[in-house]
C-alpha cells in the first residue's frame, strides 16, 4: 500500500505539475498563435467618432471601439539619410506618408516618406511578414487598394520609392539617388525592382487579396503559379478575379486581384448594385476568406499573420469626400468585426486595429456653427501678448462670410465652388425624416486640407498580449509587439 501511495503521490504530483504546465503552456501558446493587424488608412480619431455617430449614434460604438484595450500611436517619419530616434543624426519629419508609416510597423524602423522596407539610409530591413513566413507561419495581405500600394507593399517588398510599383521599371519612379550616394543603383538591385515583380516572386504572403491587376503581367502569373499559388483571374489576360473565384478558393496559397486599380468605393457599389463593380468582394468578405484560408493550414499549430487594410478611407479623405469616407470607415469596421469574431472563438489571436496617419484634418463642428474658412474675420492665430484670457480679437468679432458659406456643401451649397461650409449627415440619433445635406442633420463635417496631418492615431486591441498596447506608442513599437507575440523577433 505504501508503494501505491507513493506512486499515487508521484502521479498526483506529476498531474499537478502537468496541470500547471498545461495552464502555463496554454497561457504561453495562448500567448498567441495568430495576429490579425487591421488598419484604416488615414483614419484619425475624428474619423472613428464620425463613423460612430453616423452608424451607431452618439451613445453607440463602432466594433473597433468595443475592443478592451485602447491606446494611441505616434506617426512621425524621418527625413532621408536620417538616423533613428536617439541617434545623433536623427532628423524627424512630422507628417508621415503611408509608405514610411507602414515601414515603421512592418520593419520597426523610422524611414523617409516614400520608402518601403528600407531605412532612411536605404538599407533593406526585414519585415514582420517575411519573418513570419520564414518561421513557418502562414501569412496574408488584404487591401482595398492596389496590392502594390504602400501599405500592403511594405510587408512584401523593399524599394527606395513607393512609386516603383510596376509592371515596368523607370528611373524616375524607382531611383532615389540622394539616398544612394548620388548614383543610380543597378536595376538588378532589389531596391529598384518594381513591387509587383517582388510580390510575384518572393512568396512572402500566402494569401494576397486586393486590387491592382494592372501592375502584374504574364511573367508574374507564371512566377506565382510556379510557387504553387492558385491565381484567381489572370494577370496575363488582365482578367480580374471574381467573388465566385474567391468562393471556390478553398486552401493553399491564393492570389486574387479584383480590380485593375483600387477596389471600388463602397458607396458606389451600394448605389449601383447591378454594376460590375458591385460584384467585387467587400473588405469584410475578403477578411473572412483570408482568415479561413490561413487558419486551415496543415501547419496550423504555427499560426498566421494577416494584415488587412481599409485603404479607401485615406483616398476619399484626400478628396475631402466625407460621404464616401464614412462608408469606407463602416466597411473597415465591419472587417474588424470579422476578425474579432474569429479571435473570440479561437482564443489564441491578437487583434490590433489602428491607422497609419490621419488624413485631411477631418473635423466635427457643432451643428449650426461655422469654421474659420467660412469666417469674414477668422481668428488671427498669433500670440496677442495678453496676460489673461481677456483680449479683444485682433481682427474684430468673428462672423460668417455669406460669400464663403452658402449652405451645406452636400446640400444647398453644393453648386457653389467657393463654398467652405461643412457637409452635413444624418446620424443614427436623427429622426428618419432628416436628410444628408440638410441643416437639420446632426453630423457636420469639415476638412482642413487635402493632405495628411501629424495627429496621433487611435489604437485598439483584443486578445493575449493586447495590454501591451494600452499606451501611447511609437509606430515602430507595433513591429515589436507583433513579432514578440508571434515569437519571431529578429
Amino acid at each position: 500500500m505504501a508503494l501505491v501511495a507513493l506512486l499515487s503521490a508521484t502521479a498526483l504530483s506529476a498531474t499537478t505539475v502537468v496541470g500547471a504546465e498545461a495552464a502555463a503552456t496554454q497561457a504561453s501558446s495562448s500567448k498567441i498563435t495568430n495576429v490579425i493587424y487591421l488598419l484604416g488608412d488615414g483614419m484619425g480619431r475624428t474619423h472613428v467618432t464620425a463613423g460612430r455617430d453616423r452608424y451607431y449614434g452618439a451613445s453607440g460604438s463602432l466594433n473597433m471601439e468595443r475592443l478592451p484595450v485602447v491606446g494611441q500611436v505616434r506617426t512621425y517619419a524621418v527625413q532621408k539619410n536620417s538616423g533613428q530616434p536617439g541617434d545623433p543624426d536623427f532628423v524627424p519629419e512630422y507628417v508621415t506618408d503611408s509608405a514610411s508609416s507602414a515601414t515603421a510597423w512592418s520593419s520597426g524602423v523610422k524611414t523617409y516618406n516614400a520608402a518601403l522596407g528600407v531605412d532612411a539610409k536605404g538599407t533593406v530591413v526585414p519585415t514582420a511578414m517575411e519573418l513570419a513566413h520564414q518561421a513557418g507561419l502562414r501569412t496574408g495581405n488584404v487591401s482595398t487598394a492596389e496590392i502594390t500600394d504602400a501599405t500592403p507593399a511594405a510587408q512584401m517588398s523593399h524599394v527606395l520609392a513607393r512609386g516603383c510599383q510596376g509592371p515596368s521599371y523607370s528611373a524616375a519612379s524607382c531611383q532615389v539617388i540622394d539616398v544612394t550616394g548620388g548614383a543610380a543603383l543597378p536595376t538588378s538591385d532589389i531596391r529598384v525592382t518594381p513591387v509587383a515583380d517582388q510580390i510575384a516572386r518572393n512568396g512572402t504572403a500566402d494569401v494576397i487579396l486586393g486590387g491592382g491587376l494592372s501592375r502584374f503581367d504574364a511573367a508574374d502569373e507564371a512566377a506565382l503559379k510556379g510557387q504553387g499559388y492558385k491565381v484567381l483571374g489572370s494577370p496575363a489576360s488582365q482578367t480580374v478575379a471574381t467573388r465566385a473565384d474567391l468562393r471556390n478558393a478553398r486552401s493553399g496559397k491564393v492570389f486574387g486581384l479584383f480590380n485593375k486599380g483600387n477596389l471600388t468605393i463602397s458607396k458606389f457599389k451600394r448605389e449601383n448594385p447591378t454594376s460590375p463593380q458591385a460584384a467585387e468582394p467587400t473588405l469584410p468578405e475578403l477578411t473572412k476568406k483570408a482568415i479561413g484560408l490561413l487558419d486551415q493550414s496543415t501547419r496550423k499549430n504555427k499560426g498566421f499573420y494577416l494584415q488587412v487594410e481599409g485603404a479607401l478611407i485615406d483616398k476619399r479623405s484626400h478628396a475631402n469626400d466625407a460621404a464616401q469616407t464614412l462608408e469606407e470607415i463602416k466597411a473597415f469596421d465591419d472587417a474588424v468585426a470579422v476578425a474579432v469574431d474569429f479571435a473570440r472563438k479561437d482564443k489564441h489571436t491578437l487583434v490590433i486595429v489602428t491607422a497609419d496617419h490621419e488624413c485631411a484634418g477631418f473635423g466635427i463642428i457643432e451643428k449650426g456653427t461655422f469654421t474659420n474658412a467660412e469666417a469674414a474675420t477668422p481668428p488671427v492665430n498669433a500670440d496677442t501678448g495678453n496676460p489673461a484670457n481677456n483680449s479683444t480679437p485682433a481682427r474684430g468679432a468673428n462672423a460668417k462670410d455669406p460669400a464663403r458659406s452658402t449652405g451645406p456643401v452636400n446640400g444647398s451649397g453644393s453648386a457653389d465652388p467657393k463654398n467652405f461650409a461643412p457637409a452635413t449627415f444624418r446620424t443614427a440619433d436623427d429622426p428618419a425624416s432628416v436628410q444628408d445635406g440638410s441643416p437639420d442633420a446632426s453630423l457636420w463635417l469639415t476638412y482642413l486640407s487635402g493632405n495628411h496631418t501629424g495627429q496621433d492615431v487611435p489604437l485598439y486591441a483584443y486578445g493575449p498580449h493586447s495590454s501591451e498596447l494600452a499606451d501611447s506608442v511609437e509606430n515602430t513599437m507595433l513591429f515589436d509587439v507583433v513579432t514578440g507575440a508571434l515569437r519571431i523577433q529578429p
Partner: protein
C-alpha cells in the same frame, strides 16, 4: 498481490511518462527561430533585370498617317484620357487627365513613338512626372490635380523625318 502492485506501478509509470510527454508537447515552442539577415529576399531567381526605360509593344503595331497623333495601348488605359494631342516639327504635346481615383499622383511617364512618312517607327521620346514626397508637398496643399500637360521633343536625329506620332502611358502611379 505483488503482481498486482507491479502491474499497478508499471501502469502508473506509463501514465507518468505519457503525461510528461504530453506536457513536453504542449510546452514546446512550435515556432522556429528566425534569421533576420535572410528573411528579406534581396534577389529574385528568374527575374531579368530591367535594361532601361519601359517600352510599349503597341508602338510597333501602329502606323499613323503623316500629321496624325494616335494613342498607343498600355497597361493603364482605363485610368486616363489623353486630350489635345498635337505634333509639330519640334515636339508632340498634349494633356493627361487621370480619371481613376486620385488622392496622389505619384508617377507618370508618357512615351511617344515617332513615325516617318511610311508609318514606320523611327524613334521614341518620353516625359516623366515624379512627385518627391520628401521635398515637395503633394498637390501643394490642395486637393489633387488630375491634369498633367506634357511636351516631348522630337529627338534631334529624327528632325525632319518624324511626321506622325503615337502616345501612350507605360508608368502611372495614382492612388
Amino acid at each position: 498481490m505483488s503482481r498486482t502492485r507491479t502491474l499497478l506501478a508499471a501502469g502508473l509509470a506509463v501514465v507518468v511518462v505519457l503525461v510528461s510527454l504530453g506536457a513536453w508537447w504542449l510546452a514546446r515552442d512550435p515556432t522556429p527561430t528566425t534569421d533576420s539577415a535572410s528573411a528579406a529576399r534581396t534577389s529574385l531567381v528568374g527575374l531579368p533585370a530591367a535594361t532601361g526605360e519601359p517600352e510599349l509593344a503597341s508602338l510597333d503595331t501602329l502606323h499613323p498617317q503623316p500629321g496624325q497623333v494616335v494613342e498607343a495601348a498600355g497597361p493603364f488605359d482605363d485610368r486616363f484620357d489623353l486630350t489635345g494631342l498635337s505634333l509639330t516639327d519640334r515636339a508632340v504635346s498634349g494633356r493627361v487627365l487621370v480619371t481613376s481615383d486620385v488622392s496622389d499622383l505619384l508617377e507618370l511617364q508618357v512615351l511617344a513613338g515617332f513615325y516617318d512618312s511610311s508609318g514606320a517607327l523611327i524613334g521614341t521620346g518620353r516625359w516623366d512626372y515624379h512627385l518627391d514626397e520628401a521635398t515637395a508637398s503633394p498637390h501643394d496643399g490642395q486637393t489633387p490635380d488630375e491634369h498633367r500637360v506634357f511636351r516631348i521633343a522630337v529627338p534631334a536625329d529624327l528632325a525632319g523625318r518624324a511626321v506622325a506620332a503615337a502616345v501612350g502611358v507605360p508608368v502611372l502611379v495614382n492612388e
